[in-house]
Point group: C2
Chain length 214, copies 2
DNA sequence: TTTTTCACCGATAGTACTATCGGTGAAATT
DNA sequence: AATTTCACCGATAGTACTATCGGTGAAAAA
């Protein structure tokens, strides 16, 4: 065992991280309603009153959580994009566009669970964050589809592209959750379905583009 | 104005319905966390303690709400099926399969909001109901797709059909919510997208069926 | 008419959580 | 070595909600 001659600030930072980690676990297991200073402090191994040494109140902790979540998400989206670019063919690139987020969700399912919950809960402190995240991911995906060659020239096509992105996102989340619940054991099959779904939608864009050029 | 010589049982039933209605409104506006006997009773115009004349506790009211919701949903699914059958062509039938639920959601968006929230909230008393509802709707939609001629013979195709149904359902909900939020003003466009999405997925089933018969 | 029933009331005990307080000891500074 | 700082502690006042109590008056039953 290594001895632990922690400086005061190091020790404080460690406790703070413990609080955040504990909050995340409780948030996932019991939801925002079950998240109390009593439980978080106990799980982090400190007194309830000491919670306030680190955060002004629970809102403050949740704000921090949202900021960290946002940072992680932006990093993940950047990485996903550069990874997908490595794919040799258009087909592979299209497929990677779905495989990567599916795997990301399965690596940290609690983040999606928390986000999906907050998105629809008007009382949630994380709601604004969840809505922003959703919008960011929708735009990201719309850009991905556009990068595959389905450029949207007019207002209507841009809206369509966004609808497709939103629909496909929702389907991605649903299938990932289904996988985690054990209903769809093979993640590759889920990716197949998503590719097929988006193919159908993109065919719509292509056909309307062809119509226009007639 | 008609005079109101209500019998005792009629008056009680009226109060009960007022409580349920108030609970639904609060559930939609503030979420399950904001649902208290104080607020529900006040909104229904009775004393907080009188809440217990009608329900054992809040769980009891939520159970009643879930049962009523279940009854409504089953009725709506029956009606949707018979309505879709009226469509003259296969194409129209396919489109109606999406138009009908989209319109149903927009008629009572609070029901979907409450359900989506409960589905992901482990602390929710309505969670079991939300999960059942989800599963029922998934099966319903899978049956709809099968009725369009995409019969699933083996295990793999059955699972695929279910994944498609789940994905399309999620997309339907997402687009309906987007419409309600004002992002997608035209519900017909949303239906177009959903038809296109499902077309793509069903093409996958058809191609694998063709492959098998080679 | 007399008696019983019961939906509703106000009061209140009990429970859970928040947020602040002064006190303590060890780390950091002087 | 003396002093200051501060992360943490236990205690507790304040707040919000739950669930039960006995009381009341009007409807229903006798």
């Amino acid at each position: 065992m290594t001895s632990t001659p922690l400086s005061r600030s190091e020790a404080k930072d460690l406790t703070r991280r413990k609080l955040i980690k504990a909050a995340l676990a409780i948030l996932d297991e019991e939801g925002e309603a079950g998240l109390t200073t009593v439980k978080v402090a106990k799980a982090a191994g400190i007194a309830q009153s000491s919670f306030y040494v680190h955060f002004k109140d629970m809102q403050d902790l949740l704000r921090e959580l949202a900021e960290e979540g946002g940072r992680r998400l932006r990093r993940a989206m950047r990485e996903a994009r550069s990874k997908a670019r490595e794919a040799p063919s258009d087909l592979d690139r299209h497929r990677e566009t779905f495989r990567i987020p599916l795997e990301a969700i399965c690596r940290h399912p609690e983040l999606l669970r928390i986000q999906m919950r907050a998105k629809h809960d008007p009382s949630s402190s994380l709601r604004a964050f969840a809505l922003e995240t959703s919008a960011a991911y929708r735009e990201h995906h719309a850009a991905d589809l556009a990068a595959l060659g389905y450029t949207a020239d007019d207002e209507r096509d841009r809206r369509r592209l966004e609808m497709i992105a939103e629909g496909i996102n929702a389907a991605t989340n649903a299938l990932a959750m289904g996988h985690l619940e054990g209903r769809y054991p093979d993640l590759e099959e889920a990716a197949d379905i998503l590719v097929a779904l988006s193919r159908g939608a993109l065919r719509l864009l292509r056909s309307s583009a062809a119509e226009r050029s007639t």
